[in-house]
Structure formats: structure tokens, C-alpha cells
């Protein structure tokens, strides 16, 4: 167990960094922000791996493995879907004469 005051220090600093960084995000990118932040909390995968690696009875192991599956879905899916969204924002050039006109992609 890490010293509680150290943990508190880390938490307080992380809160400020979080506020600081997110308040600079343009509102155009709020959906990718939400999905990106969502992906980041998928890092609970690390915790799930630890408990699965320490599970010593089949019941607990099963629960832990479910947690691993869920956390992986959160982490991997989150980053993939965020990338897909940002790809659409990034590759756009200001002038695109006629591209995409007349075709319906739905």
C-alpha cells in the first residue's frame, strides 16, 4: 500500500491536469473527447489482469476473466472508434471541389 498522502497528492494533481487539458478541447471535438476519455478508463484492464492473475479458484477466475473481456472491449474498442472519428476530421482539406457530390453513402 502506497503512502496515503502520496496518493492524495497524485489525485489532486491529476484533477487539475484533467480540468486544464479538457477545458482547452474545442467543442467540435466533444464527441471524440468523450469517446477518448472513455477509452482511457478502459485501462482498468490492468487491474482486471492483476486480479485474474491472482485468482486461485475457478469461480473467482471466471469472474476475473469476464472483467478482462469487458475491460478489453472498453479499451480497444474505445481507441478504435475514436480513431475512426478523428480520421474524418483530420484528413479534410479546406477546398475539395466536388468530391462526394452526387453519391449517397448511407
Amino acid at each position: 500500500m502506497i503512502d496515503p498522502i502520496t496518493l492524495l497528492t497524485v489525485v489532486v494533481l491529476a484533477v487539475f491536469v484533467g480540468f486544464e487539458v479538457v477545458s482547452k478541447v474545442t467543442s467540435k471535438l466533444h464527441t471524440p473527447l468523450m469517446s477518448g476519455a472513455n477509452a482511457i478508463h478502459g485501462i482498468i484492464l490492468v487491474g482486471a489482469i492483476i486480479v485474474a492473475g491472482q485468482a486461485d479458484d475457478p469461480g473467482l477466475l471466471t469472474i476475473a476473466l469476464i472483467a478482462v473481456v469487458l475491460a478489453t472491449a472498453n479499451l480497444v474498442g474505445g481507441f478504435v472508434v475514436t480513431d475512426r472519428m478523428l480520421e474524418m476530421f483530420g484528413s479534410r482539406k479546406p477546398a475539395r471541389p466536388g468530391a462526394g457530390a452526387g453519391e449517397d453513402r448511407t
Binding site: 464527441t31 472513455n38 477509452a39 478508463h41 484492464l45 475491460a71 472508434v81 457530390a101
Partner: protein, 457 residues
């Protein structure tokens, strides 16, 4: 295996934490955002590799198999999901993350002796379970598997009170006894609380709920960092919690509402339901051909897309219309209200998907000063975000909400499904203004007809 010593492990986790911060920082501009996301993903990879190299782990083949299963399920879904269904997917991933945190905490209970650590276990389980169940309801509402109207039953506040008290009691017992039985009861109560929290929320407020639940999962993950003595989880969870909290607040103020008003408004009988009363005051309705003429011979058109456009999946059609007008020399920009769409910033994603360059997407503050120089404001499937009552009627539910000031434009054209008021349930005076014309119908169909007519000009 423990290839990495504690020092190297902490260092690797620090690298991962910095990557996460850079990932969020990258989102300050569309140009750097994608690279930022890739940095975040690399950070996650570093962290996962580190845990395999540093912790004493059994069952490694099974763990790897579980990771493969999780990826095999999530990646194809993430690749294929339609942009209109993005909010559901984000809510879904958020829910499973919360669920994973709750399960991790349950399993760690047996290893925790310290009452403070047990308190963190209780917090993680409860918040994770609320997030899981709440997200499930959110997904159901967004997917329209369950009613988007606020769902309430008589005595619901009392039931909620009992559940909260029960959860507090069960949590206390878990802290004192460390009993697994009480932990299961706590999880169950957390799930019920999540359901009760989100069921009464109306469809228009769901975006804020997604954001709030995202913050909840972040906090659950942060608490799990305390449970496991893992600083990376603590930092990553806190970052997400803080960012989710800000975003929730930004969203709520963009709607002119308090967060508590949204979460508990339905409990108090406040109106988030929207009205079904139709007005019979006379309006000037128009044909697609007339609208096309108005647009085609304008100099500057500002398009205000709203929820209705997202629901009708008309984003590609409106992008084509913008191109067709631009080809005629009309200057076209999109004015995007912060809450347009079904989650914060959703409309920007939909229009980006339809190849609208992000330079022509204007935020509220950029768009408003330009309306006096605008010939036509074309409002597609939006109502409350342009309702002058937000400025002029102190009693209105949306009073104080920042609006797009389309009334300053030369002419106003609404594409609307019906005369039904928006979610806020208040009439829009602008609809009866002499300079306003209306074209009734499904947003996508109307746009298709207008587009055809513009091309024929």
C-alpha cells in the same frame, strides 16, 4: 514472471499516464487529435505489457484468451458502427468499463484488510455498478429499445431513497466485516440505483447523462487504483473523472440547466418530456422549389442542423446541398449549437463523416456575430437551440440557454417535421415571424427535394 522491478514498473506506468494526458491534450485541435489518440493507445499498450512483465501472474494463457475475445468483439463493432449510433456505442463501452471496475473491486475485497481500502472497494463497486446499469438504460433509450420519455412509477423517489439507504448500509457492513455476501448485495443495489437514476431522464438530456456516467466510470477506476495500489489506474481514472465532470457541466450550461435539474428533474415533475400540444396559429409554409430558389440566389446561407437531422440521418444530403449551393457561388457555413445531435459535439462528427470540411463548422460564439450578414438561416430539425424565448421569456424552461440568433438573418427557413414544440415543450415565436417560412416533412426527404430543386435551377 517479474522481469521488471518495482522502479521500472512505476516508470512504465508514468510513461503510460503521460501518454493519456497527451491524448486528451491532442484534442485541442482537429489537426493533432488523431496523433494524440494514437499516443494514448500506445500508452495503454505500454501499461498492459508492463503488468504482464511485472506482476506475479498465474493463468496467463486464459488472460490472453480473454483479451483476444474482448478485442474480437469490440473491434469489428467499433469499425462498423454508424456515426449516428456513436452515442450508443460510447455508452456501451462506458458501461462495460464500469462493470469491469466493479468486478475487479469485488475480487480484491478478499485481499483488503485496511478499512480505508475496503471503503475504496465499496466506492468502486457501487459507482461501477451504477455506471453499468445506467449505461445499459442509456443504450436502450438511444437505440429506442425503451421509451425515450422519462419513465416514472408512483413512489419512485421513495424506492430510490430506500435503495440509497440500503446501499449505504450494505457498504458500511462491507467495510466493517469484509463479507462477500454484503458485497453482492451492494452490487445488486448499485445496479438498481443505476436503473432508477437514468430511467426518469428524458431523451434530450441523455447526452448529459452519457457524459456524467463517463465521469462515474472514471471515478470508479480511480478508486480501483487505490484498491490495487496502482498509481496508473488512479491517475487515468481521475483524469477521466475530471474531464467527464467538466464536460457534463459545459453541456448542462449549454442547455441552460443544472446537472441536478436534469438528473432529478423528472422526480420533481419538471418538464423534460416535451409537449405534444400543437399550435394552430397561422404560419407561412412553403414548397421545396421555393426554398431552393431562396437558397440558390442568396449570397450567404447559414445552416443550423439539429437533433432532427441526426434522427433522419440526413447528414449526407445536407452536405450535398451545401456543395450544390457552394457550386452556385453561395457562401455556406454550418452553425453548430453545443448540444446539437445526441451527444456533445455529435453533429460535428456526423457532418465530418459526410465530408463537410471542419473549417465550415462554426461554433456558437463564432456563428452568432455573423447572422446579421446572413441572407438565409436554414434550420434543419432544430427548434429549442434557436428559440428566442431563451432570451426573452424569463419563465421558459430554456431561459438563459445560449441560442443561435437566427432571427438576425435576413430570412429564416425551418425544415420541420411538424408544428410540435421541441423537447423543452415551448412554442417558438420565430415560427410565426413574417420573415420565416416553413417546409414540413422528414428532414432527409425535405432536403432531398430541396437539393433536387437547387440542382434544377
Amino acid at each position: 514472471m517479474s522481469v521488471l522491478g518495482p522502479g521500472w514498473t512505476s516508470l512504465s506506468y508514468l510513461v503510460a499516464a503521460v501518454c493519456f494526458i497527451l491524448a486528451l491534450k491532442g484534442l485541442s485541435s482537429p489537426r493533432t487529435a488523431r496523433r494524440g489518440n494514437a499516443i494514448g493507445a500506445s500508452g495503454a499498450l505500454v501499461a498492459v505489457v508492463t503488468v504482464f512483465l511485472s506482476a506475479k501472474l498465474e493463468n496467463i494463457p486464459l488472460i490472453l484468451a480473454a483479451i483476444a475475445v474482448g478485442s474480437a468483439v469490440a473491434v469489428p463493432v467499433a469499425r462498423r458502427v454508424q456515426m449516428t449510433q456513436m452515442p450508443q456505442l460510447v455508452a456501451l463501452f462506458n458501461g462495460v468499463g464500469g462493470g469491469a471496475a466493479a468486478l475487479v473491486a469485488v475480487l480484491e475485497l478478499g485481499h483488503s484488510e485496511d478499512p480505508w481500502v475496503r471503503l475504496a472497494v465499496v466506492f468502486t463497486m457501487l459507482v461501477g455498478a451504477v455506471s453499468f446499469a445506467g449505461s445499459a438504460v442509456t443504450v436502450g433509450k438511444l437505440q429506442e429499445l425503451i421509451s425515450t420519455r422519462p419513465l416514472l412509477f408512483p413512489g419512485m423517489p421513495a424506492v430510490m431513497g430506500v435503495v440509497v439507504l440500503g446501499a449505504a448500509a450494505a457498504g458500511g457492513l462491507v467495510v466493517v466485516t469484509g463479507s462477500g455476501g454484503w458485497a453482492v448485495a451492494l452490487l445488486a443495489l448499485g445496479l438498481v440505483a443505476g436503473l432508477l437514476l437514468v430511467l426518469p431522464v428524458g431523451g434530450a438530456d441523455v447526452p448529459i447523462v452519457i457524459s456524467l456516467l463517463n465521469a462515474f466510470t472514471g471515478l470508479a477506476v480511480a478508486a480501483s487504483g487505490i484498491v490495487l495500489g496502482n498509481v496508473l489506474l488512479l491517475v487515468a481514472g481521475t483524469l477521466v473523472g475530471a474531464s467527464g465532470a467538466i464536460l457534463t457541466k459545459v453541456m448542462a450550461s449549454a442547455m441552460g440547466r443544472g446537472v441536478t435539474g436534469i438528473m432529478f428533474g423528472a422526480f420533481r415533475g419538471g418538464s423534460t418530456a416535451g409537449s405534444t400540444v400543437q399550435s394552430d396559429r397561422p404560419v407561412r409554409s412553403s414548397s421545396a422549389e421555393d426554398v431552393a430558389v431562396q437558397l440558390g440566389y442568396a449570397q450567404r446561407v447559414v445552416i443550423v442542423p439539429g437533433y432532427g437531422l441526426a434522427v433522419a440521418q440526413g447528414q449526407h444530403t445536407i452536405a450535398e446541398l451545401a456543395l450544390a449551393l457552394a457550386a452556385r457561388g453561395v457562401e455556406v457555413v454550418f452553425a453548430i449549437h453545443p448540444v446539437a445531435g445526441r451527444m456533445p459535439g455529435h453533429m460535428n462528427v456526423l457532418l465530418a463523416e459526410a465530408n463537410v470540411p471542419y473549417e465550415s463548422l462554426k461554433e456558437l460564439e463564432e456563428a452568432n456575430p455573423e447572422f446579421p450578414n446572413t441572407d438565409i438561416a436554414l434550420i434543419v430539425g432544430a427548434n429549442d437551440v434557436v428559440n428566442p424565448a431563451a432570451k426573452s421569456t424569463p419563465g421558459a424552461p430554456i431561459y438563459g440557454m445560449p441560442i443561435l440568433e437566427v432571427a438576425l438573418a435576413g430570412q429564416v427557413v425551418f425544415l420541420k417535421r411538424s408544428m410540435r414544440p421541441g423537447f423543452a415543450g415551448i412554442e417558438n415565436e420565430l415560427l410565426f415571424d413574417p420573415k420565416t417560412t416553413l417546409l414540413f416533412g422528414d428532414a432527409k426527404e425535405s432536403l432531398t427535394r430541396v437539393l433536387g430543386a437547387v440542382k434544377a435551377l
